[in-house]
């Protein structure tokens, strides 16, 4: 499989920059952006496996709104929420809207990595399921058997 792509969204530049650097050091293709709007722009151009989204950002689009848009643009991309305590309720709201999970700041990179792994696994499983469903659909149309076999490889 090709590289693991992660988009990190956080308004705290010091945090953003460092996390991105550290993720890259671990072989992850990480992109950092400072706002919800920027994140959505980036996602329109590039596919990501997981988005790490700080749910509480001053000004502009709020986390929940951004989450909604993200799920619309890239429905298969998993979103891990980052939160301080004040926004726990928002995080739960986010879970309902399809976020994978949330993490409490401050986080250790190891925790984040583990969570990203889980999220990726889920995404992968999800994709597989969709692929299988597609294949099943093809099975129902015998004329496409060849195509099915090719995909299975």
């Amino acid at each position: 499989m090709d590289t693991f792509r992660v988009l990190v969204v956080d308004d705290e530049e010091d945090f953003l920059e460092t996390v991105v650097k550290r993720l890259e050091k671990r072989g992850i293709e990480a992109v950092g952006v400072k706002s919800g709007e920027e994140a959505l722009d980036t996602m329109k151009q590039k596919l990501f496996d997981v988005v790490v989204l700080d749910i509480k950002m001053p000004g502009g689009m709020d986390g929940i709104q951004a989450l909604r848009e993200m799920k619309r643009i890239q429905p298969l991309t998993e979103v891990v929420l980052l939160t301080g305590h004040a926004s726990v309720e928002t995080s739960i709201e986010g879970m309902r809207l399809g976020a994978f999970d949330y993490l409490l700041k401050p986080i250790k990179l190891e925790e984040l990595m583990a969570k990203l792994g889980d999220a990726f696994e889920k995404k992968d499983a999800h994709e597989q399921k969709i692929r299988k469903a597609k294949i099943k659909e093809l099975v129902r149309f015998p004329g496409r058997v060849f195509q099915q076999e090719k995909e299975e490889e």
Binding site: D14, G84, H85, S87, E89, L104, K105, P106
Partner: protein, 553 residues
Amino acid sequence: MKTKFYIRLQRKIILITLLVSIAPLITLGATIYYQFARMYKEKVEQQIRYRSAAQAQAVDLFLKERTAILGAMADTHKLHDMIDENYLADIFEVMNNRAGAFVDLGVISNAGRHLAYVGPYDLKGLDYYQQPWFGVVMRKGVYISDVYMGYRKSPHFIIAVRRQEGLNTWILRATIDPEIFGAIVRSAQVGKTGDAFIVDQAGVFQTQPRFNGGILTDAHLNTTLFGTGTTVIEQPNPQGRETLYAGTWLRNGAWLLVIAQEPAEEMAELFATRAMEVAIVGIGLLAIVLTVVFTTRLTVNRLRETDKRMNELNAQLVQSDKLAALGKMAAGVAHEINNPLAVILQKTGWMSDLLEEEAFKESENYEEYKTALDKIEEHVERARKVVHGMLGYARKMEPRSEQVEINETLNQTIALLENYARNNNIEVFRDFASELPVIASDQSRLQQVFLNLITNAIDAIGNDGEIHVKSRATGSTIVVDVTDNGPGISKEDQKKVFDPFFTTKETGKGSGLGLWVSYDIIKKMGGDISVTSDPGKGTTFTVELPVITTQQG
């Protein structure tokens, strides 16, 4: 200081109520008391006034009758017949038969010589010329004397009439029996203390009184106090007892007939009534006082309880308000601290990452750097724990609703801590009620609370002691008591145990958040947590959980 207020209030109410209810009663009682006495006295006064007047009339009549008989005898007989003592004795007999009360009868010449005499004394031949009465009778024609001793040396009085027989004048004189006269006067005596007697103008007894002296002795009565008709005066008798005297003048003011009566005797009935009245008023007063005191006490005590309950509620309200406000503040602070902590953690992580590169590993200070970075990370972790603890959230934020068996939860919690307790030589006793209802709650949260309480109990005891964990059902709640026999908590500190950052543990050992978080958790579950402590004996934390059963089971 509070107690004083209620005592004062109670006193005020009692005083006012008593004043309002007792004053009219006493006024009424006193009015009846004195009015009765006045009426009675008036009645007694009237009675003796009437008796005095009636008796005076009777005595006057007696004297007039005697005078009339004597006058008739003198007018119808001649002197030369009268000086015959046998003749005189016949007349004396007729007089005594008709009227009685005559002791003797004598004929006296106009020169004062006793010409003839019938009677028990030997008075014949005596010369009365110098006697004062002689002059009066010669001048006025009729004379009734005061009581005097005279020649016979025994108290008596006389009636004398003058007879003009041609040119000659003579006097017929009779002595009235003082016994009979006295008896007539005394017939007006009534009761045990009543007296009836006659005094002259100087206040000397003319008849034998019942008490206080004898005939011709001083009656100690100021006769000038008595006016015309019948007068009633009140003065103490020689024994000092209040006495009513009703006096009526006789014989044109020469004698005073007196009826004396101690009103006390007549008023005995009144006194009985009075005593009854006083008793009734007294019983009434007692009843009022008792009722007022009793009801006021009851009222004030009720008030006191209500106030106390209100104060407690207020205190609880203040406490939860305070904690809610602190919670909000803590949440804000947590966010502000968490962000810089996140940056520090990432920066440190980045430095550690870089340190692993070849070039740095060669550096002679490599170990120092590594240790320093680890330390920074460790302390960020510590700060993070404090902030997380402050909010009381572990991983999942929203309390879950699951089937919880309290006894099971307690068992698990105690199992976690049993080793720790044993190491400190502390025994944990379980006293669980069987068949507690299964409630819908959040097991891990409850475990966190019980863990906090039991850990605190162990830490409070230190070494050697007992912890009792007790569960029981009270209908609408399940109650868990965690009791230790540690040093206890002072009254001051009891108020603060649920405040955040309040700890008595040494710095670094306790965050002071455990109980605060427990409080928050239990309150959010709709329960209650409280502390009672007896300094020196131990402490009990009580958790009350509402019995809520899940809808889906």
